[in-house]
Symmetry: C2
Subunit: 429 residues, 2 copies
């Protein structure tokens, strides 16, 4: 049986998971592929810890020894971050090696350059594990949907945020407490900013959108709001109106341009995304021929991520054994797509105004909405203690983002209304 | 740009759908693949109808003109059935052509022979569209899960049955009426036997199980029960106990052997499969590294099926352009797997006894259960009109299939108890 030599860089949580997968299932993998893949070098700076898992003759401290090893055909970068990981991937591609990574932050930041370089050097830069964890969504979009035009890709792409929102919803916890529980349960990192701020989901949706729409989508141009401001009372009211609050990353074509957004949205309780709980990820795709489809699975964790790395490795082993270079490319990394302006996007909105409880407030609020051409669908006032602020929930008909923003600004500048008032966008079924 | 010549045989619903996909999205497909695929011949015996869709110089009546055309590298068989379709596929493979089919009935019946022949001739026999319609489950199992050992594949694989059960559940319709509605809505054929009898789901799960477990699974050895006996009252009671009734095709490893079954099962309301409505299909997979994952989409219809045919064509175009023959094989068609005996399978059961309403019935029923070592979990008697038969619902602890069958047989042979009494198996979360 033939053999492909693989170099693994980074033996943290994901790296260890993948190493363990190959130890347990390497023979199974080889029997399915007709070719074995052997990890001939593992680079890890924390050699003391790595020694417990990796034989001495395989372990190296400096990743350059992996890159400079001409026998190694595939480099797997599982270091993470946007620093040394960039050097690893770039130098591996330059040496003509195929690369697998799970590094969404780096790909979102410098993917246009790295994908273009890979294309120039005729090697593959694969990243199934970077989006949706174990869900095989990149392969599905790239290969299974090749006969379709994709209209929409949206999903729950950050497990930490979904875990927190689920706990807030099911246990009526405030954000801070749900975050602490998530950290305790191992579903949130010590510094959760990238997760709860929406940045991680923005990285992932920019990559998905690039593949779906054929050009580069720059994540820095994406409207991105996180979940730190979400209140349990808002989730509760949304539920009573038939909606779940989920951090949704979405990319859809509007007038031929991709509209790409990340924000906590209200989605109808009947939508399959609304019942996706805790750390699970899910991706919903809408295409012209396939129609709607949903893919659901573990969005993070060492083992699920390792499964996706193995999927990429299977593709590369196949290609290497066939001495094959890919023909087509799923997108052109050198062509940055112009996004549809988010201010022009239309949604139904769910406003939450926090107000004093006195005459004139209703007139102000409804006046500002009317003045911006926004039609009220239904209203609900939470009436508790006259000395405390009152919660005014208003669902409105479709309006443009800019209309809703202007109305909110005007209401918030009126006396007796808290500047903590806000709106949520409602995504259709 | 290079070009792959494709021959399409059969221009019925699915064939027309695929022809239309290539007409609409052929250029898009070519830009993604770096190679165009052109349908150079279409064979259809109903030439009068086909002429409306296909140019005269492309249309032929006799499929042999497609097989004998040496320029054609890929033959797509969308005739269906187990007669001429077999000749088409066999002769295409023998001429060294790759084949794509959506024909689950034929593959389940003669796949062991056809896959072995394809392997011998070093061509591919692809069938993404045969299982799960537009859901890319074959590619996922074959490629994305290559690093995993699959423990379980189960799902809703027959859209007709699921449509009928959904209507029975939501509108409290009896089976016959729901079937008529399904036929009216175009979700059931005039002869629905293969769908509602479970045969179609058995074909599909045998193919999925073969890929998942590495050898040939003969669908004729599968325990297969359809939905014709399901009563709306049973669905209603199951719902009140927290379960949905779904036709579930399931394949899982028990003591190293595949246990493969098709039957209407009770599944917990929290399980994602329980909320799959109407004609939608869904496949749930459980693996050692990926963990649980769910794939959901349209299980039938011309367009969704065409999407899967295009996915297979994409793979073949890629392979042809690389002048590549596959290395490994996902399963050995010449090795028929011994199945785990279904009589030894253990489930919780839900019994429905239809009885006269008189003293001694309870003693008989509970005595037979006890005599077979079956422990009662909860009971419910539907009490309406003393002159009519009474419905006795009993949920019991885990027991072997053979125990439940023996107990049911004994109860049914007692006086005052209808032989229409039955049980449902409860599948765990």
């Amino acid at each position: 049986m033939e053999r492909v030599a693989v170099g693994l860089v980074g033996l943290g949580i994901v790296g260890s998971g993948f190493y363990s997968l190959m130890k347990h299932n390497g023979e199974h993998f080889a029997s399915k592929m007709g070719t074995s893949a052997e990890i001939t070098k593992v680079a890890e700076i924390d050699t003391a810890r790595a020694k417990k898992q990796v034989p001495k003759d395989v372990l190296v401290e400096d990743y350059r020894r992996v890159i400079e090893d001409d026998a190694i055909q595939v480099v797997i970068e599982l270091v993470g971050g946007t620093g040394v990981a960039y050097d690893i991937i770039r130098s591996a591609i330059e040496r003509g090696k195929h690369v697998i990574t799970a590094n969404k932050a780096l790909l979102a930041l410098r993917g246009a350059e790295l994908f273009a370089l890979a294309r120039e050097k005729q090697v593959e830069l694969k990243f199934e594990a970077a989006v949706g964890g174990g869900i095989p969504i990149i392969k599905v979009v790239r290969e299974s949907l090749v006969g379709n035009r994709i209209g929409k890709v949206m999903g729950i792409l950050n497990g930490t945020s979904n875990y927190i929102l689920t706990q807030m919803s099911e246990k009526q916890l405030p954000f801070e407490q749900a975050l602490k529980e998530a950290q305790g349960a191992g579903f949130a990192e010590a510094d959760p900013a990238l997760d709860v701020g929406g940045g991680d989901a923005a990285h992932k949706i920019s990559l998905l959108a690039s593949f779906a729409f054929g050009g580069w989508v720059d994540y820095r141009q994406i409207l991105c709001e996180g979940i730190t401001m979400v209140r349990p009372g808002e989730i509760e009211f949304a539920a009573s109106a038939g909606f779940a609050v989920k951090l949704i990353a979405s990319a859809m074509l509007v007038d031929g341009k991709p509209a790409v957004t990340v924000f906590p949205a209200l989605i109808p309780a009947q939508h399959p995304l609304s019942s996706v709980r805790n750390e699970v990820n899910a991706v919903f795709v809408e295409c012209d021929f396939l129609g709607p489809a949903l893919f659901l699975g573990r969005g993070a964790g060492a083992n699920a991520t390792a499964s996706s790395v193995a999927s990429d490795l299977g593709d590369l082993v196949q290609a290497l054994m066939l001495h094959a270079k890919r023909g087509g490319y799923p997108f052109d990394p050198r062509r940055t797509l112009e996004l549809y302006p988010d201010q022009k996007m239309e949604y139904r909105f769910f406003f939450h105004f926090i107000t004093e409880n006195r005459p004139g407030i209703w007139a102000t609020v409804t006046g500002c909405l009317a003045g911006n051409g926004i039609n009220i669908e239904s209203v609900h006032q939470k009436w508790e203690d006259r000395s405390k602020p009152s919660d005014l929930y208003i669902l409105v008909d479709e309006a443009r983002e800019e209309q809703a923003k202007k109305a909110l600004r005007e209401v918030c500048s009126a006396s007796g209304i808290s500047s903590d008032s806000r709106f949520y966008r409602i995504l259709p079924l």
